[in-house]
């Protein structure tokens, strides 16, 4: 007997049971979205965390790495627990741990505490999402439950950076974690309400299907590539181009918006799964190459490449997750593998890309300083104003060492006669333009590596021998 069938054995009237299960399922789906959004939700908050907790780019990346690494490591073992225990109880426990750790993240006073809390959050999150899959399958049906779970995860992943950016801008980075607490707390009773009835079978009694390697590898590689798209692009916007988190959040919203167009597109073209996933990989690779070849720091130029990434995301994550999970039993095991693959991919992406772009950012410092010096030396300003400005710029470069400097304070300190005000303003624009050029160029290699990862994912999907395919 299938768990979905067993779950219907209850004394509650059918209509009431139906609406309750839908609300409960919706709350669980929101929790799944919330946990998976956490993978990237802090991306836009990283520059603020970097400043508030007095740390470096390399260290602050661990706020992301720790969560994804622990989630990747715990998701599969967590699935094992669900074979022998009531999924409702374990899920509720996981969600409660996730909520508690989110609260701890919100009050963290140091980077070490934040990283530790993020790790605990990931442990709770792993149990929450794997258990929620089992509960959704029990409540809805195997296919619908899996589809809800995947859709919630994709939605969370896509919307995470935008939500995090807006919250950071409106309130602070801590608000990202605060809003997660009530969502998770509400889901705890929903999970407990789905407790196993007497005589209901456990997943341990089900046969175990083999894990589908190919879609999981593709998911891992694509997640690494998408990390490049989201993490690096957000850093470029906020740290490189000095845009506010709110502007960055609205900008990266292009990705989830474009992802919405994939469903009608696939329906119109009646494309098969292989055509969808290979096209999606190609679009992500193309989008990342586009981000590596931006013609200027104008936000309009980022729309095209981001739309490609968004379309690619919509064409790949959903069908690949379905390929990896649909019809495979038990669902928790295959869900666990999928989560492990995706988040191992995020860690892989961060591990490869963080040292590349931090080294490139360091290397970009010298050409940027040369360009700024050239412009100041040749500026149509009085010699004494140039000397004063040069001193201010040197102080600013020293203060912001390792990051793209903010030149505004140096210009604010420079008092020039009214006739030179326009020249001063033009020079400030020119210098900021040089910094934007240097920062954009510094991210190029990392974006291209992301594109290569997406192309590798595409290659991993192309069947080598048709005869071997069953």
């Amino acid at each position: 007997m299938r768990p979905a069938d067993l779950a219907t054995e209850t004394d509650i009237p059918a209509r009431s049971r139906g609406s309750m299960s839908r609300v409960g399922a919706a709350l669980l789906a929101v929790t799944v979205g919330c946990v998976l959004a956490d993978s990237a939700v802090v991306t836009l908050a990283l520059p603020e965390i970097l400043v508030r907790l007095h740390t470096t780019v390399g260290q602050v990346a661990w706020v992301l790495i720790a969560f994804n690494l622990v989630l990747a490591l715990v998701a599969r073992p967590a699935a094992g627990f669900y074979r022998r225990r009531d999924p409702a109880v374990l899920s509720a426990l996981g969600i409660a741990v996730f909520a508690g750790a989110s609260a701890a993240c919100a009050v963290a006073g140091s980077l070490d505490v934040l990283i530790a809390a993020r790790s605990v959050q990931a442990v709770g999150g792993a149990f929450a999402i794997v258990g929620s899959l089992q509960l959704l399958v029990n409540q809805l049906s195997e296919h619908r439950g899996t589809a809800w779970w995947i859709a919630a995860g994709v939605f969370g992943t896509a919307i995470g950076p935008t939500a995090g950016g807006l919250l950071t801008d409106w309130f602070s980075w801590r608000s990202i974690f605060i809003v997660q607490v009530p969502i998770a707390v509400l889901a705890v009773p929903s999970a407990l309400a789905m407790r196993r009835k007497k005589g209901q079978a456990l997943a341990d009694d089900e046969p175990r299907d083999r894990v589908r390697i190919r879609p999981n590898i593709a998911l891992a590689l694509l997640s690494a590539a998408l990390t490049a798209a989201l993490f690096l692009f957000v850093l470029l916007l906020v740290d490189g181009w000095r845009r506010s988190p709110a502007v960055a959040a609205v900008t990266v919203a292009v990705v989830p918006l474009a992802a919405l167009f994939t469903r009608p597109l696939v329906r119109t073209l009646r494309a098969g799964p292989l055509a969808q996933t290979t096209s999606g990989c190609l679009l992500i690779a193309g989008g990342l190459t586009g981000l590596a070849l931006l013609p200027s720091a104008a936000l309009a130029w980022t729309i095209g490449p981001q739309a490609l990434v968004g379309l690619g995301l919509g064409l790949t994550l959903d069908p690949l997750s379905l390929q990896a999970m649909d019809g495979r039993r038990p669902p928790t095991l295959h869900g666990g593998w999928t989560i492990a693959a995706r988040h191992a991919g995020v860690v892989l992406g961060l591990a490869i890309l963080t040292p590349v772009f931090t080294a490139d950012l360091r290397a970009a410092q010298s050409p940027a300083e040369d360009a700024i010096t050239a412009l100041v030396l040749d500026a149509p300003l009085a010699p004494q104003d140039k000397t004063t400005l040069a001193g201010g710029l040197a102080d600013q470069l020293k203060a912001d060492r390792g990051r793209v400097p903010d030149l505004d304070p140096a210009f604010a300190r420079l008092n020039v006669p009214p006739v030179e005000e326009a020249t001063k303003a033009q020079l400030e624009r020119d210098l900021n333009n040089q910094l934007q050029r240097a920062a954009t160029h510094a991210f190029r290699n990392a974006f291209l590596i992301g594109a290569a990862l997406a192309l590798t994912a595409m290659l991993s999907l192309i069947p080598l021998r048709r005869r071997g395919e069953r």
Binding site: L265, V266, L269, R270, A271, G272, L274, A275, Q276, T278, S279, G280, L282, L283, A285, G286, G287, T289, G290, L293, L294, P295, S296, A297, W301, G304, P305, A307, L308, L311, L315, A364, S366, P367, A368, E369, D370, A371, T373, A374, L375, L377, D378, P380, L381, A382, P383, Q384, T387, A390, G391, A394, E420, Q434, R437, A438, T440, H441
Partner: protein, 203 residues
């Protein structure tokens, strides 16, 4: 027929993806994508025009310094910008840097002289006196000397060369953020250069 339409259907989405990627990348490359990089410093060994908004002695000093920096950087095989950043850093400057800067400034005097950009000595002296911290009595005494006499006795390039040779460039670079200290140092060097020149003539 069905197989053909099936193949066409299977190829439609990948073809659209290729077209979209090609379109976006093509548009970006056509608009300078791939060339959005910081300004590259020009070759310090190639002379470039100096456009100063200052006038008089300030303009002369600025032009002298910019041409001199180019020449010094050229001697050391680096860009003017890299050399400027090196010598503007607080801390010890190497002998090679100081020697290159002095040689560059002296060469710049020759370049400006050849271009006919050096003012007459009388003009230089009068402006220098106006901007200097000398006592009113001394200023009045120097102003009383006729221009013809100054121009007959002194040549601008000679005064500048003597001044540059006499300047403690290490100290001058250390005083970059202190305009008053710089002025005092340069005034002293100019005065000494003029006095030495007069002493040479008397001998």
């Amino acid at each position: 027929m069905t197989r053909l339409s099936g193949r066409l259907r299977a190829a439609a989405l990948p073809a659209l993806a290729v077209a979209l990627v090609g379109g976006v990348l093509g548009l970006q490359l056509a608009n300078g994508g791939g060339h959005y990089v910081p300004l590259r410093p020009t070759d310090s060994c190639v002379s470039r025009p100096v456009n100063s908004v200052a006038t008089g002695i300030d303009a002369l000093t600025e032009e002298l310094v910019l041409v001199g920096l180019d020449d010094a950087a050229c001697q050391l095989g680096m860009s003017r910008e890299a050399f400027t950043l090196q010598i503007a850093q607080p801390g010890a400057r190497t002998d090679a840097q100081i020697n290159a800067l002095r040689t560059g400034l002296i060469t710049a005097v020759g370049t400006l002289k050849a271009d006919g950009k050096l003012p007459k000595a009388s003009q230089l002296v009068r402006e220098a006196v106006d901007q200097s911290d000398l006592s009113s009595f001394r200023k009045a005494a120097i102003r009383a000397i006729p221009d013809v006499l100054i121009d007959k006795t002194l040549t601008t390039d000679d005064v500048l060369r003597r001044t540059i040779n006499d300047l403690d460039l290490r100290m001058l670079l250390g005083n970059l953020s202190d305009r008053h200290a710089m002025t005092v140092q340069v005034d002293a060097a100019v005065t000494k250069a003029v006095m030495e020149r007069l002493a040479d003539d008397l001998h």
